[in-house]
């Protein structure tokens, strides 16, 4: 059982091996995430004057990635099964895109309403119209970006002979995480001014 001995230096279950694999990735991601942190810090005055906007931040960071992960894993499974073609007229592709847009519309409408309620209770209240506009517009832009990224990343990993399951989902989720705050901040600035 030498190959599975946890003390073997090449064993993938050794502490050294797990940390050596993960830590460089975490460092690279943290550096990239500083981009969206910089946007938050830059707009500190806007966010602190309207704390209800902060209620949107965790959902904006996570939801684009969730939508992208659902679409990417569906596309790569259908690609493996030979049910999908990268053709603008492909019906499977459009069916999936339609479902993602529907999910995004539902989730970000709900987010606008819930954030408004939370604002009434916890933070400084904001106008419902402004919040809905910010939540839905930035949410739909984010969903559009998640769709384009998922299709592109699946296509690229397919043509490069990589397994989309290993490559597409981490790339799409992390890029959407970073873009979430950037899109939210851009839309908030336009709506509030």
């Amino acid at each position: 059982m030498a190959a599975t001995d946890p003390d073997e230096p090449t064993d993938t279950w050794s502490i050294r091996s797990i940390v050596a694999t993960m830590f460089p990735i975490l460092i690279a991601l943290s550096i990239l995430e500083m981009g969206s942190g910089y946007v938050l810090e830059e707009l500190e005055a806007t966010y602190l004057a309207n704390p209800t906007l902060l209620v949107l931040v965790p959902v904006m960071i996570g939801m684009g990635g969730n939508l992208g992960a659902i679409l990417s894993s569906r596309l790569s499974t259908r690609l493996h099964l030979g049910l999908l073609e990268f053709d603008p007229r492909d019906e499977v592709l459009w069916t999936n895109v339609l479902a993602i847009l529907g999910l995004a519309a539902t989730i970000f409408t709900a987010l606008g309403i819930v954030a408004w309620l939370v604002g009434q209770l916890v933070a400084e209240p904001m106008a419902l119209v402004d919040l809905m506009l910010i939540s839905v517009v930035s949410g739909m832009i984010l969903a559009g970006l998640a769709i384009v990224l998922s299709v592109l990343a699946t296509y690229v990993s397919y043509t490069q002979g990589l397994d989309p399951d290993d490559t597409t989902i981490p790339v799409v989720t992390n890029v959407c995480d970073i873009l979430g705050v950037v899109v939210l901040s851009g839309v908030a600035i336009v709506v509030l001014n």
Partner: protein, 191 residues
């Protein structure tokens, strides 16, 4: 039309998990928007800069642990219970190193970035202290919470692979922000 029915089916299957994730995110957001937290953001400049990195790395560290444990269970390499099994202990220890190490790295990185840009910044020790306290607390909660949930779902015959993603993002959002709040309070009292 068949395509429209298919789209509707995908919608219905995916909505519940997204709603759970939405609920976790809104809870985390409510803590972020609360008076105590916004006061903390004002008192410690640099916290907003590190916030996205802090929230996003949670999913990557503990999601990787969950995926590893789940594969290990499927391959029969580990048993679905808490024990001093060498592989399990290694995986847990490595997650502590990754989770706490990256939290401290994020604090140093944000502080350094603010110095380079000659912006107002909290002291290095304050930012490192906040990230260390919240990093240690989130690591403990998420690692053991995650293992308990993965083991329980495996015992009940559910495939942990389908649950890890949503579990990690939801728990990460909730506990990440709550422990950040705790850390800001603790560091605010000490310094």
């Amino acid at each position: 039309m068949a395509a429209r029915q298919d789209a509707w089916r995908i919608y219905r299957e995916s909505l519940p998990i997204l709603v759970v994730s939405l609920a976790g995110g809104v809870f985390a957001g409510s803590v972020l928007g609360s008076d105590g937290m916004t006061a903390g953001f004002e008192r410690f400049p640099g916290l907003l800069l590190l916030l996205p990195a802090f929230l996003a790395t949670r999913g990557n560290v503990y999601g990787a642990l969950g995926a590893r444990i789940s594969s290990g269970l499927h391959q029969g390499m580990i048993d679905p219970e808490f024990s001093w099994d060498r592989r399990l202990v290694n995986a847990v220890a490595a997650s502590f190193v990754n989770g706490i190490g990256i939290s401290v790295f994020i604090a140093v990185l944000s502080w350094g970035l603010l110095q380079v840009l000659s912006r107002e910044s909290a002291r290095l020790i304050e930012l490192v202290g906040i990230m260390l306290v919240s990093g240690v607390l989130t690591s403990f909660t998420l690692i053991f919470g995650m293992l308990a949930l993965v083991f329980a779902s495996y015992e009940y015959g559910l495939d942990p692979d389908n649950l890890i993603g949503p579990i990690v993002t939801t728990l990460g959002d909730i506990f990440g922000v709550v422990f950040l709040f705790v850390a800001i309070t603790v560091v605010g009292v000490i310094f």
